[in-house]
């Protein structure tokens, strides 16, 4: 056997003999394909157009005008500001504002949706005024920003505990610390604090880049809220990493697993499109994820001018529950060494 074939054989067997690597190389692409097929069984999310209705009287507004069209999804907003936030973030294609008095309704569209607006206005009551509102050309980036921020924080959290603990277990540093009086809790908190400082800096830099390069509309309070929400999400992801580290022994497996988990999380966390575009079972999974909660909170605070109380409580509750449950499980299962 030539050296070429000997080495090629060695490399191939190296992957095949590691169960996780073999799964990642051979099985994961097929699983991913099946997942993508399941996720997009209703078609591409943006084949449908969202019309947001703001009815000052609190009624359903002209919802029935769009009922005959499958490609139109109707949502309701509490305020014109919230609806415009969705329009500017490309989460909605048009906004219908129904005033309380006798004034005519208004149909608002972005500069790139004027043709759609002319079509829609014909479905609305006579006298509805079509208005074009100014919107940043970075609108979809605005929509993506909370997802990108969440994704970065999620990776930092998972790797900060998951990867570090597995690495420390493999190189026996955990066993070394076990010979000292250092309490388990102090060790874990030190890991958390060390990475938290970096993640805080990461969040501030991402916010600054989003505001400066892409006109993401931050106020001082929405920026501060974003930092707070992100740090809460970071704690939940740290907890998940802690649980992973308790059950995974190999450094390469933890890297493969985090990579494998990332892809579905991107689909299920409203990073690129709303959960409503997913099949119901997947949407239900997404509703329970801390990543979805974090994306929604940041999006609401930054783009929609606030988050309704019920949604705020639910999302913060989801994040808190994940953080508490995963830290409790992770700490209970934490062992300094085998």
């Amino acid at each position: 056997m030539t050296a070429f074939w000997a080495l090629a054989r060695l490399r191939t067997l190296d992957v095949l003999r590691s169960r996780s690597s073999a799964i990642f190389v051979l099985l994961f692409p097929m699983l991913l394909l099946l997942l993508v097929g399941f996720v997009f069984q209703k078609g591409h999310p943006f084949e449908q157009r969202t019309v947001v209705i703001v009815d000052a009287a609190g009624g359903p507004g002209p919802s029935e005008a769009f009922a005959a069209f499958d490609e139109i999804v109707v949502e309701h907003a509490r305020s014109e500001a919230e609806a415009l936030g969705k329009l500017r973030a490309k989460m909605a294609s048009a906004v219908v504002v129904v005033p309380a008095g006798d004034e005519p309704s208004r149909l608002l569209v972005g500069p790139r949706e004027q043709v759609l607006g002319r079509g829609l206005v014909g479905l609305l009551p006579p006298g509805t005024r079509l208005e074009t509102v100014e919107a940043s050309s970075w609108g979809y980036v605005h929509f993506l920003f909370p997802g990108m921020l969440t994704f970065s924080v999620m990776l930092s959290g998972l790797f900060a505990t998951g990867y570090t603990l597995v690495l420390y277990r493999q190189n026996r540093f955990l066993k070394k610390l076990a010979t000292t009086p250092m309490p388990k809790l102090v060790f874990v908190l030190a890991l958390v604090a060390g990475r938290a400082l970096l993640v805080l800096l990461q969040i501030v830099l991402v916010i600054a880049a989003a505001a400066l390069a892409f006109d993401v509309p931050f106020s001082a309070s929405s920026a501060a809220s974003t930092v707070g929400i992100s740090m809460a999400g970071f704690l939940a992801f740290l907890g998940v990493g802690l649980v992973l580290a308790a059950v995974i022994e190999s450094e390469s497996l933890v890297v493969d697993l985090v990579s494998a988990v990332n892809v579905p999380l991107v689909f299920f966390s409203e990073i690129f499109f709303p959960l409503a575009a997913l099949p119901d079972p997947l949407a239900a999974i997404g509703e329970a994820l801390p990543s979805t909660a974090m994306v929604r909170l940041v999006r609401g605070v930054v783009l929609y001018g606030g988050v309704p109380t019920g949604e705020l409580a639910w999302s913060l509750g989801v994040i808190a529950l994940w953080a508490v449950a995963t830290f409790a499980i992770g700490l209970a299962r934490f062992r300094w060494h085998d």
Binding site: N171, R172, F173, K175, K176, T179, T180, P181
Partner: protein, 248 residues
């Protein structure tokens, strides 16, 4: 003074018996070597004495007390194959262990004792085997422990580093009990005041070096001192100074 007392210790991993009916004591100050071939159960025994593993049965007392709660602040440990952390300087590693034990100026003490003051800012992965061994020993001594365990501290070192570490350990053992494991008979002969011979999970003999050597009725051909005593008590074969096989 008795620092370790082991009575009828047994350790099983499923059906595998790693240690069987081990009984011995260790006194300090001085240097005690747990001597045996690879797979003899030395590291398992040390894990138990260090409070890192629980015995299946038997009684173990360290510094006069039971294994739980373990007297961490009175014991220092150097593991076999210690972690050399990436992107961590020698000084930062020293600082960590000084901080764990709350020793003021402990970092400088560790660096000085390890003769690594000049290498303080070097990434610890760049330390030589001997330098790293000195660092680990100095870190394990920072809280002035009464008892120090070292698992094969010289196993991967060149002869010169072995001598250096040997001198360092002899010095350390003048004031406290030092227990090390080794499969190197000549190293054990040169360093140890007392010896525990461990083969196949069983303690074959223990006592002072002088008593064990004196107990050998006639010197085996080519073997003297601890080497001859080990042959006598354990009926083992050797290759290149290391014990490679043992039968009861």
């Amino acid at each position: 003074m008795e620092v370790v007392s082991v009575e009828r210790l047994e350790k099983r991993f499923g059906d595998v018996v790693a240690l069987a009916d081990a009984t011995f004591t260790i006194e300090g100050p001085g240097l005690t070597g747990i001597l045996g071939p690879n797979g003899a159960g030395k590291s398992t025994l040390l894990d138990i004495l260090e409070g890192l593993a629980a015995p299946t049965s038997g009684t173990v007392r360290v510094l006069g007390g039971p294994l739980s709660p373990y007297p961490r602040r009175r014991v220092g440990v150097v593991l076999q194959k210690e972690a050399q952390l990436e992107r961590c300087t020698t000084a930062e590693y020293a600082e960590l262990f000084a901080s764990i034990y709350g020793v003021p100026n402990g970092r400088e003490t560790i660096l000085r004792r390890a003769s690594l003051v000049e290498r303080a800012r070097v990434d610890m992965t760049r330390l030589s085997g001997g330098e790293a061994a000195r660092l680990f020993i100095a870190a394990a001594l920072i809280h002035d422990p009464e008892l120090v365990f070292l698992d094969e501290p010289t196993a991967a070192l060149d002869p010169r580093s072995k001598l250096e570490i040997g001198r360092m350990l002899r010095d350390v053992a003048t004031e406290r009990a030092v227990v090390l494991t080794t499969h190197d008979l000549r190293e054990a002969d040169a360093l140890c005041d007392r010896l525990v011979f461990l083969v196949g999970g069983k303690v074959r003999a223990c006592g002072t070096r002088e008593d064990l050597v004196a107990a050998v009725p006639e010197q085996a051909a080519g073997a003297i001192g601890v080497e001859a005593a080990f042959f006598h008590f354990c009926s083992v074969r050797m290759r290149g100074g290391d014990v490679v096989e043992g039968e009861p």
